[in-house]
Symmetry: C2
Subunit: 423 residues, 2 copies
């Protein structure tokens, strides 16, 4: 399928944002602007798909070229993102029909949806219902997730930068702990994101090069937590190295599926404790061994840390945005660009693509062969996979000591529909 | 007092380390090496003063010039630091006598002690007892503390870098929260260091330039916490801006002195909860308003974040190390170099010095006029004070995507004393 005349394009951001999702936006927009014969106006959904449903569109044409360019070094979701999953067509056909209605009103022939698994599912369905309602729209997904859990792509834009942040932070905090372990903190617990897949936790493993270098223990969601083995290993590390650095994925769970974060202490009213697996693990260590500990929870800091983004990640984020538009104007519908690794050392990659139907709602976990037999570290194969993804520093410009991040004007597109839509 | 012949020098790190304490070490060592007529060997205490007491000295002369140079961009305490405060001379004269014994055995005539208030007190006492025991040693303090609470110096090396890290991280995380607030997290709570003084919390205020820009609320240890007023303000922010970014100092306390972190929930056995004021504040907001929240605790990440150190801070850290040696060889005893601000815009500073007796055991808090009348933000005066301190980026070199931090060889100096010392 290929549009015969000029059509407008809609770009929308979806789900948890990242340090480089705006670099993908920049890739989409700059590329669309270069194809004026096929693409007319470029719109963005304000707050993602919600903007599309409520006809709250941003006129990207009103942003300056400098602003668009600056998106490449600005974290967060510049157009607004949303945690909003469309229901299945059977359960809420009205949402899909509304989308097509908005598309029709604004002559939108291209829909570029920048998100993770769920969003690819949505893009696929929009493409299908457009067809069945007689308003064909070319839907191309733009991959994004710090969790790195999309299948069929070597990695996901967003991941390389959080991986770099976590590896750098682990190396730095470990130097701090090492220098004072004799009289102060002996155990440092660092909680990282990744509820279902341990890719981010694995990246912490890059901080150490040789055996015995921190992090000494990584807890993956893929490996059932065994408190006895863990506590024994902590003690061994403190004995051998004088201190122990533990990196724990927020999704670390017992064999029966209970998250450690849920299994923690309760407040005076019996409510589960306030969240965070790091304090739970730290307290476990205190109770058994009595070591002085500290813990950190990076939370949003890790996925917003554009100041220490990976150059490779920024380039790939831009490239998938660019490729999405190029695929779209060629009429390649219901696909998602992928990162294809040609070789690891030196690192060579290219862009491929895959049908959305192959991506939607699937998760890629850390394979067992990437985790050491004891379950506490990463293997050489994992290191070979991860290392290229954190390569290069893509520093933003600074003003008065702070990164000079851009905010869009966000001028609204005049509404054309009489009906409003309640979400 | 001035040594007539050549004497050896001892350098030691003390207390919590920082992103730039090794830059001070670099300043001390490189300067000492340039004054070979006055300073013979350069030694460092392994794990700070503990190394001096136990005669466990590092032979700095065995490190390469490249390693010494690389200290300037390496965080943590390369020679090891210690939380070990010497008791008063009345209570433990033996410790001071032992120090002098070790100094005498190794012909140490210069003692450069790199630390905060406590350490300045120790350096002062060592200088006094050396005199009274007939072994004169020139003691010069080298200021260091991320807390920025030393008096009589415009700022403290270590603070500018943690300030920059916190301001950058706040700006980044706030962009993340802003982009998703409509359907996801509405309140983000970010806990920063500073148990007694709110300088680090104040630095977060640099993240926003205009009224309404995040952080919306800063909680200082200097301002008694009023839960009602705070919760009201949170609600107002969410109403006005759609979200609320709160920065909370770990030392935030109620009017009666109880830390918020202590006033939190208790576990099933009645133990105080696991630490961290951020989850306490976040839960307070959830209970009252029900907003979805996230929280982060940067902990050691903030004071180890050499990857985003302030250029000004690195230069000042080096300069106080250099000045300490220059003062020492001139025979200026029992002093500490200070940072003297000449003007704020453009920023001009120079190095002064002050008697250790003026510095020891005093704390400089954030003055009331640096905090807005409502107690939740920073004033223009505070901004003028802070801005120059985070200026410039002093990026470390990278290898394979990670900062190329150095580790010293740490070759020991041959022991000369028969007696060991139990600490």
């Amino acid at each position: 399928m290929k549009h015969t005349g000029k059509k407008n394009a809609l770009y929308a951001q979806s789900g948890g944002v990242s340090a480089v999702i705006n670099a993908s936006a920049c890739g989409v927009i700059e590329t669309a602007l270069r194809h004026g014969r096929q693409i007319g106006k470029i719109y963005a959904g304000r707050d993602g798909i919600i903007g599309a449903l409520t006809e709250d569109l941003i006129d990207v044409g009103r942003e300056s070229a400098a602003t668009i360019r600056a998106l490449k070094h600005t974290p967060g979701g510049a157009f607004g993102s949303a945690r909003f999953k469309l229901k299945s067509i059977e359960h809420n056909r009205a949402e899909y029909e509304r989308l097509i209605e908005v598309f029709r009103a604004h002559d939108i022939g291209y829909f570029f949806y920048n998100g993770g698994n769920d969003s690819m599912d949505t893009a696929l369905k929009v493409s299908q219902i457009g067809e069945s309602l007689g308003y064909p729209v070319i839907c191309v997904g733009v991959p994004k997730t710090v969790d790195n859990d999309l299948p069929h792509t070597d990695c996901c834009p967003g991941f390389g930068s959080v991986a770099k942040y976590i590896a750098v932070s682990t190396r730095e905090a470990a130097l701090d702990v090492a220098s004072m372990a004799r009289t102060s903190t002996k155990v440092f617990v660092f909680e990282v994101m990744g509820r279902h897949a341990g890719w981010i936790a694995a990246a912490a493993g890059l901080a150490g090069r040789k055996s015995g270098e921190p992090p000494h223990i990584i807890l993956f969601p893929e490996i059932p937590f065994d408190a006895e083995r863990f506590l024994e290993r902590v003690k061994q590390c403190v004995t051998d190295y004088g201190y122990c650095v533990v990196v724990v994925s927020e999704g670390t769970a017992y064999g029966d599926g209970r998250f450690l974060a849920e299994a923690g202490t309760r407040d005076a009213f019996g409510h589960a404790q306030l969240g965070g697996v790091a304090p739970v693990v730290a307290d476990m260590i205190r109770q058994r061994h009595g070591y002085k500990y500290h813990w950190a929870v990076a939370d949003y800091l890790q996925r917003a840390a554009r100041h220490i983004a990976s150059q490779v990640d920024v380039e790939q984020a831009y490239a998938v945005g660019k490729a999405a538009v190029e695929l779209g104007i060629k009429g390649v519908n219901a696909v998602m660009p992928t990162i294809v690794r040609k070789r690891s050392k030196p690192y060579r990659w290219t862009i491929g693509h895959i049908p959305l139907s192959e991506v939607a709602n699937r998760e890629k976990k850390v394979p067992r062969e990437f985790i050491t037999p004891d379950g506490f570290g990463i293997t050489a194969a994992c290191r070979r996979y991860l290392e290229p993804l954190i390569a290069g520093e893509a520093y933003p410009a600074y003003r008065d000591g702070l990164p000079d991040y851009v905010r869009i004007k966000g001028a609204p597109v005049r509404r054309k529909l009489k009906k409003t839509f309640q979400i």
